[in-house]
């Protein structure tokens, strides 16, 4: 990914404290317009806080966020209804689906083509306006309510759409509709998408960048590959994470079983040839995606290992030598002693 000269968000020395406790600390970060940013991390790691700050729902305790180059805060007329957040639990007001979706337009005082926008937004999330527009708010399933809540944001044609676990508690169809609607917004209006999710398909198939949050600190995926928990103690005095296909991620024992471990990307060996142990942990996987980091010339390789997708940053010559392409079966090998724990203090 390139970082163009004018980022849509620029975070400077951001810090958020609740009741004196620091829950988020981001020294510096930029987000490019039109990017799709994934936020991953355990519950309580600060994802929702970061989303609320970027959505200008709350003000930071310290530091500032620049929107398109100038500092912005809650209730700024400049960002209202251009940056919109879809919270984790959809909250619909006691009114019809149509009125819920039209609410943001009403707040903005936009009357022209309101009905058209509402209908298009409903259609975008896969809810037929003719069937759903007149329904009362309480006559919806959980997935439908979440889609109505998303439609209310899409009706605003936002420049930034922040989504907090948009598919965490909905059925597969709704999850797919939500994903497609969000991507369509990016395609139509160049909307920047920032998504907090535990959903791997979101994070590694849709997002351009994934940031890992742990204990209020943001770790951009770059030269490090994150090995997410939860961990259980294994027989070899190391910690294991059993994967769905029976393989185990193995790391040295740490202090917090929910913490993510990481490994410097150059210590992670991706190869098409089968490799043997020699003290290393070897996992079988499949190449999902290759992406070029234009600025450095490196390539981001996303490999499916069990239900995880591990992202490694490889030097282009390594990749050329291996001749990797999506769909290839590969081995992922690393010396467990190269794995380190995030120091969150």
């Amino acid at each position: 990914m390139t970082l163009p000269a004018s980022p849509i968000f620029r975070i400077e020395a951001l810090e958020q404290r609740y009741a004196g406790r620091r829950v988020l600390h981001v020294p510096s970060l930029e987000i490019a317009p039109g990017a799709i940013v994934g936020l991953m991390g355990p519950n309580g790691s600060g994802k929702s806080t970061l989303l609320r700050l970027l959505g200008f729902i709350e003000a930071p305790s310290r530091g500032r966020i620049l929107f398109k180059g100038s500092p912005a805060g809650p209730f700024d007329a400049r960002i209202r209804s251009r940056v919109t957040l879809l919270p984790q639990d959809p909250y619909l007001m006691n009114r019809s689906v149509f009125d819920n979706v039209a609410y943001g337009l009403k707040l903005r005082g936009q009357r022209s083509d309101a009905a058209g926008r509402v209908h298009r937004a409903l259609a975008a999330v896969g809810l037929a306006p003719a069937r759903f527009a007149r329904r009362p708010w309480y006559a919806l399933s959980g997935g439908e309510a979440q889609r109505v809540a998303l439609a209310a944001r899409l009706a605003l044609e936002p420049e930034v759409l922040l989504m907090d676990e948009p598919t965490a508690s909905v059925d597969a169809e709704s999850a797919e509709r939500i994903r497609q609607a969000a991507l369509a917004a990016r395609d139509h209006w160049g909307t920047t998408l920032i998504v907090a999710s535990h959903d791997w398909s979101w994070l590694f198939e849709v997002c351009d960048i994934v940031w890992h949050l742990y204990a209020g600190t943001v770790f951009p995926t770059g030269t490090r590959t994150f090995l997410p928990g939860p961990w259980i103690p294994g027989p070899d005095h190391r910690w294991h994470r059993p994967l769905a296909d029976g393989q185990h991620l193995v790391v040295p024992a740490g202090t917090d079983p929910s913490a993510p471990a990481y490994i410097e990307s150059h210590r992670l060996r991706l190869t098409r040839q089968p490799v043997t142990g020699q003290g290393r942990v070897v996992l079988k996987g499949t190449v999902l995606r290759l992406a070029l980091i234009r600025r450095t010339g490196q390539v981001v390789v996303t490999a499916a290992v069990g239900e995880l997708a591990l992202t490694a940053v490889l030097e282009p010559e390594v990749l050329r030598k291996e001749g990797m392409a999506p769909g290839d079966a590969i081995s992922v090998a690393y010396p467990p002693e190269a794995v380190a724990w995030i120091d969150a203090t």
Partner: protein, 230 residues
């Protein structure tokens, strides 16, 4: 027991014949309770909203005080208001003693804690997500406030009805501050107290039934409004 039956018959007769004394008491009750309700809503709603909406140190203590004031004895309010508006009191020059505005002042003091406490509870019990949702959809400060008020309208309506009930049925303030002056400050409740004092139990029951009928009409109106608003 007889006087209860007799009271029911008398209530019908009083209302049907348009008995001037009864109508005067009904009018006094409606006037004074409307004024006191308007005042307590104007003062109590913003306070209650503020109390329910914001988190601040000492909030629990303030809530406890307000909740305690919910059970303010009406005679105590009557006594305090009398002390305030008596000619010898600090507000004596306003000439409020033995007037309907004087009663309304006392009743407003009675009703404000009810409005504050119930409004605060309604706002507190409102989904925290509402505020996030409204702001994420682009509400400015004013829209946020108004929309939140609007979303809590049923809770606020309940607060108003409860306060109205308390105001309309109280007797201590009306008696002490109003003086139960015939044609002027005699309300339904002081009239009932007087008739009972005079041993006219049936008349007391009749007036009580009239009061109940008014309360019934108010509640019917409110639930009607509420149904229409769905």
């Amino acid at each position: 027991m007889d006087y209860i039956l007799e009271g029911i018959l008398q209530a019908v007769a009083l209302l049907a014949s348009g008995n001037a004394e009864t109508l005067s008491a009904v009018a006094a009750t409606l006037k004074v309770s409307s004024v006191s309700m308007a005042a307590s809503l104007v003062i109590g709603l913003p306070l209650g909203f503020w109390l329910g909406y914001h988190r601040f140190p000492g909030k629990r203590a303030v809530r406890t005080v307000v909740d305690t004031l919910l059970s303010l004895p009406t005679v105590l309010v009557g006594l305090i208001v009398y002390a305030l508006i008596s000619q010898r009191g600090p507000l004596g020059e306003m000439g409020l003693l033995f007037t309907l505005p004087g009663i309304a002042l006392g009743q407003a003091i009675l009703a404000i804690p009810v409005v504050v406490a119930l409004t605060a509870t309604a706002v507190e019990s409102m989904d925290r997500q509402l505020s996030v949702t409204l702001r994420s959809l682009g509400a400015d400060r004013r829209q946020l406030l108004l929309s939140t008020l609007w979303e809590t309208r049923f809770g606020i309506l309940a607060a108003a009805v409860t306060a109205y009930g308390r105001v309309m049925t109280e007797v201590g303030i009306s008696m002490m501050v109003g003086g139960n002056i015939k044609w002027h400050t005699r309300t339904m409740t002081t009239a009932i107290a007087l008739e009972t004092n005079k041993g006219m139990f049936a008349m007391g029951v009749a007036l009580g039934l009239v009061l109940l009928a008014i309360a019934f009409a108010v509640n019917i109106s409110v639930s009607f409004l509420r149904r229409r608003a769905r």
